[in-house]
Point group: C2
Chain length 198, copies 2
């Protein structure tokens, strides 16, 4: 019923995550009401994707060969935090309490999805292991895939004599104890700490 060009636009939007036919149509109608300038802006933004590169050292997004973190000599180069995705770097940076470097894997090891160690950015991490490196913090989500990746990294990095740590598991701050799931409670009990240490 709709013109072919309109249907094509809907299909394009349907490729976005979580966008069904109804939402895609809504987006398409919105674009239809926009003037040429705004459409051009979106077209240019999409074309600009090709200019987004990955940092040659850590794999984070960058306009240039090296990302702002790797270029920043004021950051503590003795610590590398390994994350799965660039978004995770943003989440950690928002806390403002980490001053070391990052390493973005670009994914997690997953036997079910057929993602093996050689498919993610691990080789470049190994190249970064130097005597001056004190600690590698594995900051991956506590999912099956996160666990597999953490264990793999622990094994290969320990062999190289680096201290490998991971983010703590336990009750989220502000959360109600009786709403926590069993696994989280078990982890919180296992990892209990002396009160004066906190």
């Amino acid at each position: 019923m709709y013109p072919k060009k309109f249907e094509e636009l809907c299909s394009a939007f349907e490729k976005l995550p979580g966008v069904g036919s109804k939402t895609a149509q809504r987006y398409a109608f919105t674009m239809l009401d926009k003037d040429s300038e705004q459409i051009d802006m979106m077209v240019d933004a999409l074309k600009g994707i090709r200019q987004i590169r990955r940092c040659k050292v850590c794999g984070f997004l960058s306009d240039e060969d090296y990302c702002p973190f790797c270029k920043d000599t004021s950051r503590d180069a003795s610590t590398i935090m390994v994350v799965a995705y660039p978004q995770d770097v943003a989440a950690i940076e928002k806390t403002g309490s980490y001053k070391g470097l990052y390493h973005v894997l670009g994914g997690l090891i997953s036997s079910s999805k057929g993602i093996y160690p050689e498919d993610i950015n691990i080789e470049k991490l190994l190249e970064r292991i130097e005597p001056s490196l004190r600690e590698v913090i594995v900051a991956v989500s506590p999912t099956m895939e996160g666990e597999m990746t953490a264990l793999y990294l622990d094994k290969i990095l320990k062999d190289k004599g680096v201290l490998v740590t991971r983010l703590a598991h336990g009750l989220p701050m502000g959360a109600s104890l009786d709403y926590a799931d069993e696994l989280t409670l078990i982890k919180a009990m296992d990892n209990r700490r002396k009160i004066q240490d906190e």
Copy 2:
């Protein structure tokens, strides 16, 4: 923290309805993972918007001068259903029980938004009033703006001697009576019909 080109892509996606910064970023990351071909597909789809036109008669979307409905001589030309948006045509067509023509206003009269009768596609509707036209069905949503538009159309079309009707208000089919809002119940009582008429 993210490259400028990436931020630009996020901003572009944020222009879509109901898309906040988090969703826009999710869309941008998805596009980042797509290959050139898929990005080109989206770019071409957006560029294609300029080729989408409005039917010269009814205002519905079309590749050509006239839309599929206006070109279809098998449809009943004695009835025109007036709707606010092209999406409404799709909703009516899905019922499969309307065989007349359409007229798309492209909006509704709204004093609060400063949309006046001359801002929507009413002039072309008046041009379609011919002696062979039997009925104009005003099929707008029962909102304040819909009501204003319906009353305005009723006034100017009646003067031209056309029968003007509107969609019935009442209980939605399958809905529970005790969940209906008061206004709907009042309308349903006011518009009650003899059982054998149904």
